[in-house]
Symmetry: C2
Subunit: 334 residues, 2 copies
């Protein structure tokens, strides 16, 4: 078979502030021969996620991507060659296969994707997979919603937040989203069934929360941190749960960022803040997929894909997450 050329984005520098294209290098290399046990995957879609900003800069729950290494990223791809009995040519798979056109892997951490008739491949990013699991387990395991409680979701028009609010509604909560544009707020209320949405760029968040959460806040699904989290913490109820999913407001910070000024309210209200990372829930992936699939069929949950065309645009497209210009799940079509 003719030599395949693999284009890749490699990390060139630790970014300062927002990503610059010069933080990455566009490289190409010939795809080598497979060895026993390996598969060759042609990547079709790359997931862009806020956590990548951390991977590029520092050790977090995973080691920092090394300078010169292919940038880490979750992809959906198709198996083009296989010398591994667990995968056959034509299988669709997902895994952390990087910002590149081709990946060779021994299959560890790579999942074969079921064929779901009528459901596009990108659903594995928008509804199932790491996004759906983050929303599902973060809300249900950490947030522990009960009917009649009030749930606030920040970055509510993002991939995770938009699912969290809908699951909150399924579980009988009053759901209030916080987002950064009127069209996002309209989508949350009109299309996804949120009870209310707050545009933090044009509204006073504290006053709007007071208005839309007349019984206080029982659950905060926190994606943002900073001033927005502080406004929420000021209005939490006795024994509130704060599911700490992300702190996107600080990911581009170039100086140490203080924790919430209303930290003491966690004590006063006997609240609980708990961090979680989706990969810890990998053994329970099927539970989430089953439930999400059922809700999708029943018309109870919707997702939206925000698709960027071409791997070449990946570095700057990542900034959309921090500038708030995406709605729903941001993916790159490779």
């Amino acid at each position: 078979m003719a030599n395949r050329i693999n284009h890749q984005w490699r990390l060139a520098a630790r970014p300062e502030g927002l990503i610059k294209e010069s933080d990455f290098t566009w490289t190409e290399e010939v795809v080598p021969e497979l060895q026993d046990g390996q598969i060759l995957v042609r990547n079709l879609y790359l997931s862009l996620d806020p956590t990548m900003r951390g991977w590029a800069s520092r050790d977090t729950y995973l080691p920092a991507v090394p300078i010169g290494g292919v940038m880490r990223g979750g992809t959906i791809g198709v198996v083009e060659e296989s010398r591994n009995a667990n995968f056959k040519v034509g299988d669709h798979v997902s895994g952390l296969l990087g910002w590149q056109e081709y990946a060779i892997t021994d299959g560890k951490g790579v999942n074969a994707l079921p064929n779901l008739p009528g459901i596009p491949l990108t659903a594995h990013f928008g509804l199932f997979g790491h996004i759906g699991m983050t929303a599902y387990f973060g809300l249900l395991d950490i947030g522990q919603p009960k009917p009649g409680e009030t749930l606030v979701v920040s970055a509510a028009a993002g991939a995770v937040g938009s699912l969290v609010g809908q699951i909150g509604k399924i579980k009988g909560c009053r759901v209030v989203g916080i987002a950064g544009a009127d069209d996002k707020c309209k989508w949350l209320v009109d299309e996804l069934g949120f009870d209310a949405a707050i545009n933090y760029k044009t509204e006073n968040v504290a006053a709007a929360l007071k208005k839309h959460c007349p019984n206080g806040i029982d659950i905060d699904f926190e994606n943002v941190g900073g001033e927005i989290m502080d406004a929420v913490l000021a209005q939490i109820n006795f024994r509130a749960r704060i599911a700490l999913c992300g702190l996107i407001s600080s990911y581009n910070a170039t100086a140490p960022v203080p924790g919430p000024y209303n930290f003491a309210n966690i004590l006063v209200q006997r609240a609980r803040v708990e961090g979680f990372i989706v990969m810890d829930y990998a053994p329970r992936a099927m539970e989430c997929m089953t439930e999400m699939g059922k809700w999708l069929m029943e018309g109870k949950i919707k997702y939206r894909i925000d698709e960027v065309d071409g791997l070449k645009h990946a570095p700057l497209a990542l900034n959309k997450l921090f500038e708030g210009t995406n709605i729903g799940k941001l993916v790159v079509k490779i």
Copy 2:
């Protein structure tokens, strides 16, 4: 019976920073006649606790003490008159009976204290009651210590902290205390059996934690907040528990205080921060008293009373808690 004169400290102003004596007014009034259902208690000891700084300034988990009102405080007293069938003259009782020599109460929230032969009354402040329960339930319920884990306690030579560390040892943990004086550190290690103690006024806390917690920190019993909590948060382990008991470093603050700069490490390490207040555990008081009494008899737990003589000294004595000049439980002998 001759008229009794009741001397009282009443709140005169919302304190700014450390307490000044002028924030209180020393008043006297004649003790009125009892009505049906009431008892008259002569207070013998007043407990001084960090949380009082909050009560004087603002609504917290209890409403702020009103200006002009008798300052709120837990006392141990003796019943001098009773028109309530649940209490008889001579009973020792405890409750939130205030910074005053006498209190009249209908008995709600007042507990009769058992006579424990050979154990002084002040043990109900130093080992049992709200102090013991704070240490016991905070560590066991929120901290969930397991043998072999590492527990860090801040304000470790205080009333609660000194008990927490000892209970941690009973439960098989490695226990490291943080305190503000060499004699406190010596007491923690030599007398109470802590594995190590760090003098935060003379040592680099981060470096000392690194040295004394070679396997990282699994449980933080947090009494202090601020820089000390930040140093601890930087070294927490996967699924660490932070039992949020107090944030004494900020109680005298005159401007908003930021939360911990290492807040994001809660997410990275999938840790849990949970606030608690001892009064929520009132229904389980007997469980704590039974265990603590057993440990006392077995010589496994010690407590220390730091006694101030005379109710007149109460306002300025409260500052000892914030200046760190007390060792063990601070009480006023009335």
